[in-house]
């Protein structure tokens, strides 16, 4: 008999609770930081978990993931990281117990095989162990043998996820100079660290100009402009109202994303929809730089009101306006929904992808069971 499903151990409970409260209070700012903290917490959970078969471990992680996602449902990278870790864990388990990678069946390639294959090729996680570990599940004499055998492999897999997150900026910027040619004028919005590192990397070998839109009411564009200009890139800072006016001279629009949805659309900082639409009108290519951890198995059914989250209205109309504050409704949406038809390419740490293949990437990186945590 398997043991009853246990939650995470006491020590890791504490770290989970800490992260939950940080997420709820929005003390974790930025998708990458949220993902990093999630991986660290999951690593702790896995290292201290007691389980005797794979389902118990998966259940533990799913319960942790559910709590984290409920703490801050708008921060999609948390859920994505949990799904990624689960995917890796299942891969490792499958490799270890069956000896061969789950789906690399090199049978003769016939049409019927092709049609019947169903699941697309999964992202090949290189098996950590060459030899099959003898996994005895639910051993009544030695309940911990299973977890003892599997844990080192799992920790390495989680470390992989962590490494991928830590090197996201470098990998996205790897081919930056292939995407930007000399004397281009590039428009960007807000302060995306991925785009920032992308442009700085390209500046090593190309000379170009960047126009940064201020992006009210957070005015993050100011920091972006300062950071780019101090890296030696000639930068213009313009207010959002002039995006259409200058679009005729812009060669490329490069923006960052908050979360990329399964249909190829994305949530990005407010103002991105304006820039993308204006670029389409002028037939200017739109490039989105984002890490793979932002791919979310979500569909935006209610995209008309694309605002995912709202920020403080006083930065739009503050109390210094006096009596106006009572009589007027103020809206401060933080994100825009940009449809897949407005994006030309997603540049990720795993290569460049058009929006039409995002659904396949999501199928490959996450397991279907995990879409709902």
């Amino acid at each position: 008999m398997s043991r009853a499903i246990q939650g995470p151990s006491a020590g890791s409970q504490r770290s989970v609770e800490t992260l939950v409260s940080k997420l709820r209070r929005r003390q974790v700012v930025g998708s990458r930081d949220a993902a990093l903290e999630t991986v660290l917490v999951l690593r702790q959970v896995v290292s201290r978990a007691k389980f005797s078969n794979i389902d118990q471990l998966v259940a533990i992680i799913r319960s942790v993931g559910k709590r984290l996602v409920e703490a801050q449902p708008k921060e999609h990278t948390v859920g994505n990281t949990v799904r990624k870790v689960l995917h890796h864990i299942r891969e490792e388990y499958n490799t270890a117990s069956k000896g061969t990678a789950a789906s690399s069946s090199k049978t003769t390639y016939t049409i019927s095989n092709f049609v019947l294959q169903g699941q697309p090729r999964k992202q090949n996680v290189a098996p950590k162990s060459e030899a099959t570990i003898s996994l005895k599940e639910d051993d009544p004499d030695d309940p911990d043998s299973f977890s003892r055998a599997l844990k080192p492999v799992l920790m390495e897999a989680i470390q992989d996820v962590l490494d991928e997150l830590e090197t996201v900026y470098d990998n996205v910027s790897k081919n930056a100079k292939d995407h930007i040619h000399s004397d281009e004028i590039i428009l960007t919005l807000g302060h995306s660290r991925t785009v920032e590192s992308f442009l700085k990397q390209a500046a090593h070998s190309r000379s170009f100009t960047v126009i940064v839109a201020e992006t009210g009411p957070s005015y993050k564009g100011h920091e972006m402009a300062k950071s780019l200009s101090s890296a030696g890139i000639s930068t213009f800072l313009v207010p959002d109202s002039s995006i259409y006016a200058i679009m005729s001279r812009v060669n490329k629009v490069i923006i960052g994303a908050h979360a990329i949805l399964a249909n190829g659309g994305m949530f990005a900082i407010t103002g991105s929809l304006l820039a993308a639409t204006a670029a389409r009108v002028h037939s200017t290519p739109i490039v989105v730089c984002a890490g793979q951890f932002k791919f979310t198995p979500l569909w935006n059914l209610y995209h008309d009101f694309g605002a995912l989250d709202f920020a403080d209205p006083s930065s739009v109309l503050g109390f210094e306006e006096g009596s106006l504050v009572d009589k007027v409704d103020v809206l401060n949406p933080y994100y825009d929904y940009v449809g897949p038809e407005l994006v030309d390419v997603f540049i990720t740490n795993d290569g460049d992808h058009p929006p039409s293949s995002v659904y396949r990437l999501i199928k490959e990186s996450y397991d279907d069971d995990d879409h709902e945590l």
Binding site: G216, Y244, A245, L274, T277, V281
Partner: protein
């Protein structure tokens, strides 16, 4: 408020100017012994030193002495570029490779690398907002005050500026005395011209001001020579009043009635920044008892929407206020977009406050009607193809206290960054494809028939 930051003053390029410069210090070697290039280098370094000294003192005196040179003298062989203010008005484009680039108030970057200078030259033809100077000739105090109000953006808006200009001219005309051996119809124009140039130096002329002044000049030239002076002046003032009344006030009333008919009960009207005509339309519709709500979209640098917001909400209209980037979230709720214009062009394009083009584009994408409310005197028979041909830059961020208090002002001090420039175009061009109709006092016109406005008016504009 102080006017735009002062610019270092440079006399025009060329060896002749330097030689006639009264206070050039004597060169180390005699001028004949130095080569031409070396002489020029020396002149430029002396000029830079003088400019640095002058920049500390009152800047106004120097500007007027330099008449704008339409054909800049060819640069010497030295590739070194000094920052120069663009002496030409925004309408005279700087030839590339000539006088270097605009400095926008930053200290002259004499040793800027050519790479840097080239990229920042992209928008150099926009020209700089110039400080109001004490011009040649005596400028009427009303005009002086008006110019100051223009340059400090105390009076903004095409209609407001035009009315203010015409009223100021009425005062000037009344106080004008024809000198002996001159006729009013001929001399008044030469008297008014420096006043007009002073206003243009404060802020580039709007199309409305241009059309009004052209009409005024026509009236002046038509003045009967035999009329006694006071009668002629009274007649001119009367003509000015008639112009304001017919082309602006009554036109606005007709537009208000026509456009208010487009507003139905339960509508959500979207408007951008502040147009005096749209304000009248909305207030008029409110008085007629229609039930509607308004979304006011606003944007830096001017943030004029707040004024409209306070007027509308005091009148009891339910308003929502958003900044321009948030437009994507609300556009699906909107039934009608009403915007004003600075001027309309023969091809149907609308030249309006920067951001109008974005609003019109988004509305068109969501099949929302875009209605431009515009009097016929704003018609300009030029055809503009993009927002670059003619535009105006606002002074940089520090002069505008339009940031919300949550942001520290220090974060905005980007003057000292070498590679960073701040551009604040004030206008943009909405192409005719984004516009559904233009409401004028002669009717509701689709954008491709705008060129028939002069015909509809029955007279030349």
């Amino acid at each position: 408020m102080a006017p735009a930051p002062t610019l270092p003053v440079h006399p025009p390029n060329g060896p002749t100017a330097a030689l006639t410069h009264p206070s050039a210090p004597p060169p180390q070697r005699s001028q004949k012994q130095m080569t031409k290039a070396e002489r020029r280098e020396l002149q430029e370094s002396q000029r830079a030193a003088k400019a640095a000294a002058k920049a500390g003192a009152a800047p106004n005196g120097g500007q007027s002495k330099q008449p704008p040179k339409a054909a800049p003298a060819p640069l010497a062989a030295t590739p070194r570029r000094q920052g120069k203010p663009s002496e030409a008005t925004p309408k005279v484009p700087l030839t590339p490779g000539a006088k270097g680039r605009d400095t926008k108030g930053a200290p002259p970057m004499a040793e800027g690398d050519p790479l840097n200078a080239r990229s920042l030259r992209i928008f150099s033809h926009f020209g700089l907002p110039k400080p109001v100077s004490v011009a040649k000739g005596d400028i009427h105090p009303t005009i002086l005050r008006l110019a100051l109000q223009f340059s400090n953006f105390k009076i903004t808006g095409a209609n407001a500026r035009c009315i203010a200009t015409l009223i100021a001219f009425k005062t000037v005309i009344q106080e004008y005395v024809t000198p002996p051996n001159n006729t009013l119809s001929r001399h008044l124009m030469t008297h008014l011209n420096p006043q007009i140039s002073h206003l243009v130096a404060a802020r580039p002329m709007s199309v409305t001001m241009g059309n009004a002044i052209r009409q005024l000049k026509l009236e002046i030239s038509r003045t009967d020579i035999d009329l006694p002076e006071q009668d002629a002046k009274n007649a001119l003032c009367q003509k000015i009043d008639n112009y304001i009344r017919d082309r602006i006030i009554i036109a606005d009333q007709v537009i208000e009635e026509t456009a208010a008919k487009k507003i139905k009960d339960g509508d959500v009207i979207l408007t951008f920044a502040r147009s005096s005509v749209v304000q009248k339309v909305l207030l008029g519709a409110m008085e007629e008892g229609r039930q509607f709500s308004v979304i006011v979209v606003d944007s830096r640098p001017m943030l004029e929407g707040k004024r409209l917001l306070s007027v509308l909400s005091s009148a009891g209209i339910q308003c929502t206020y958003i900044l321009l980037p948030a437009l994507g979230s609300v556009i699906s709720e909107v039934s009608l977009v009403l915007v004003g214009a600075h001027s309309i062009h023969a091809n149907g394009a609308v030249y309006a406050r920067a951001g109008t083009a974005l609003v019109a584009m988004m509305a068109k994408q969501h099949s929302v009607a875009v209605v431009v409310c515009c009097e016929t005197y704003k018609y300009s028979d030029t055809v503009q193809l993009d927002s670059f041909t003619k535009n105006e830059l606002a002074p940089t961020a520090d002069s505008f206290s339009s940031f919300p208090l949550v942001k520290s002002r220090d974060a905005l001090l980007t003057q000292n960054q070498i590679n960073l420039e701040i551009l604040n175009p004030l206008y943009d061009l909405t192409p005719p494809t984004s516009i559904t109709a233009v409401v004028t006092e002669v009717g509701v016109i689709p954008p491709n028939s705008i060129s028939s406005i002069p015909v509809a008016l029955g007279r030349l504009l």
